[in-house]
Symmetry: C2
Subunit: 343 residues, 2 copies
């Protein structure tokens, strides 16, 4: 199935572009290997991870493109999860001052988040996505067939970003529909419709503010606390004990919904619903977070901040009513962390 899709896309691209190169996540190479019979396009398969979301990996892609004598009239097809598409998008956007690229996300998280919106980036100087550009792919191809092979943890990883979208999207119905979805069943048909609606909601927001100068910050709900938890937990962690991005976002959503309740009088129901989901599916945050000062320092360094050393969050005053640029004091941040860790 996936091979048929890819076959068709690559044939079509070969007609439209001078040259087609592929950068893919090595872990999905086996799913598409049968296509290599076409031999018209060259592929680089990369082992990727948060540690390898680095300048060195961008250089590996540049070196591959130079070795293929890729011109500006070529196109780079990026197949993989969000880490792969973030890195490859940056490589494409900077190679010869930018070539077209196409995203083929293979995880739920990449489908609903990383592969649309035009953010590319790598980790640098110990900070997540601290180097990058805004450069949208010319197309994002979402094939729900990939999801059939997903383990439960990968589903939950993307589901958290979908829940975030449900909390901020203009139609409050999306939130209700997401809560009604049963992660234990993993029905593909309703999930496909939910993915489409989440992507559409995100694109609607990004279109109005592509460079995150204002409105787009609503998409950062859950991410100020989420990024800090993820960074701190994963700094020295073995791959096996790392906190996946979506899990970090879910914990971040809980901390930030707690602040939404205390600071903006948001109704308690969404916080309670998220807490239930956490206890039932995600588990409590297993986090070496005794060092709260370090978590707060990481939040102060977040690139989303408008001013140095402040903590800037997106909160909500209700479902579908996000409020950007909420400045959080250190006391408030500690209180939210206390709530999260005492659940």
């Amino acid at each position: 199935m996936i091979c048929d899709h890819l076959d068709r896309v690559l044939q079509d691209l070969t007609a439209r572009y001078e040259q087609v190169c592929v950068v893919g996540d090595a872990s999905i190479q086996h799913s598409v290997v049968s296509i290599q019979k076409f031999g018209e396009w060259s592929a680089l398969w990369l082992e990727v991870s948060e540690e390898r979301k680095s300048l060195e990996t961008v250089q590996a892609i540049w070196d591959f493109l130079f070795a293929q004598s890729m011109t500006r009239r070529g196109v780079l097809v990026c197949i993989g999860g969000g880490v792969l598409t973030d890195i490859a998008g940056l490589a494409a956007a900077t190679y010869k001052r930018g070539i077209d690229y196409i995203n083929v996300p293979t995880t739920l998280l990449a489908m609903v988040d990383a592969s649309t919106g035009g953010k590319t980036g790598i980790n640098y100087g110990g900070l997540k996505n601290s180097i990058g550009v805004f450069a949208p792919p010319v197309e994002t191809l979402i094939w729900p067939e990939w999801l059939k092979t997903l383990p439960a943890k990968e589903f939950l990883n993307g589901y958290a970003e979908m829940l975030k979208t449900g909390l901020i999207a203009e139609s409050g119905r999306l939130w209700d529909r997401l809560l009604q979805y049963d992660p234990d069943q993993m029905d593909i048909a309703p999930l496909t419709a939910l993915i489409a609606d989440c992507v559409a909601a995100k694109e609607q927001i990004v279109k109005q503010d592509p460079r995150e100068e204002g409105l787009r910050k609503v998409l950062n709900l859950g991410h100020t606390f989420g990024h800090a938890l993820e960074e701190m937990n994963n700094q020295h962690a073995e791959v096996s004990s790392q906190m996946p991005h979506g899990y970090a976002v879910l914990y971040g959503l809980i901390a930030e919904l707690y602040l939404s309740v205390t600071k903006l009088a948001c109704p308690k129901e969404p916080l309670q619903q998220l807490t239930q989901l956490m206890l039932h599916y995600y588990g409590r945050p297993v986090c070496k977070c005794s060092d709260r000062d370090e978590l707060i320092r990481l939040m102060q360094q977040d690139k989303k901040n408008e001013r140095a050393a402040e903590i800037n969050c997106t909160l909500i005053s209700n479902i579908a009513q996000p409020v950007i640029n909420q400045i959080i004091t250190i006391e408030e941040a500690n209180e939210a962390l206390e709530y999260l860790f005492s659940l």
Copy 2:
């Protein structure tokens, strides 16, 4: 004078931006050092050269910005020649997915070429400007006072790019006025007017095609041969024996005007005028160019090419009549090189 200008600009920026950082060419630090008394802004002074137009130098700027906790609401002021502004522009465009930057060009070449138009870049994989993005500065501040300190060679370096602009600009008058200018006198007042007209002519072109998808290629006149000569000569050369960019462009203009005459029946006069200028001011190309195959290989790899392994030039059919996407055969390229080296 320069210090007064900079003082005013930095004060003004401090009012408009959350944070102001400066990246400057170490060789002009002494000209602006008196301003450091203000102490409100941090500066990084870099030794730059074509060799240091590298990823490592971009990293040095990123590291400086992270050390200053620069937020997205800050501005980077880039003071120096084209090499400095190209590197610093790329660093600014990729730091936290892009911050505002301002160019303060200190050489004639940077004033009329590098510091406007939005091209940023570094050399990578042995190829000039092969990694970069299109990201225009929010402002370019041109102060002709810098020119009073220029040695003759630096003037000629920028003058060649001005001559190129004169050959393609809509008003043929610019070409005549440039030829009337006397490089031996170095009168600042008429030069200031010529700079302004060259910048305006370039901006007029860039505005219509910011990402070089068509029209903007007229600006590449002289650069297919020029870049190859520059790269080949400078690959293993000591700094003292390197060919400056403007000199390479002048030689490239002669080769490409030769092809304009033979392929597009361009009148011979501009070629003769450029040849006179070369013999009188620039001197013949002192170039280790016995290896013509290598020069041709470099031209085939030029990132301006639309297809791999072809040689793509901008030519002119007359003054003010540029013609883009002219494909040159290897025989024609050899003939043009033969003409240039036999002068």
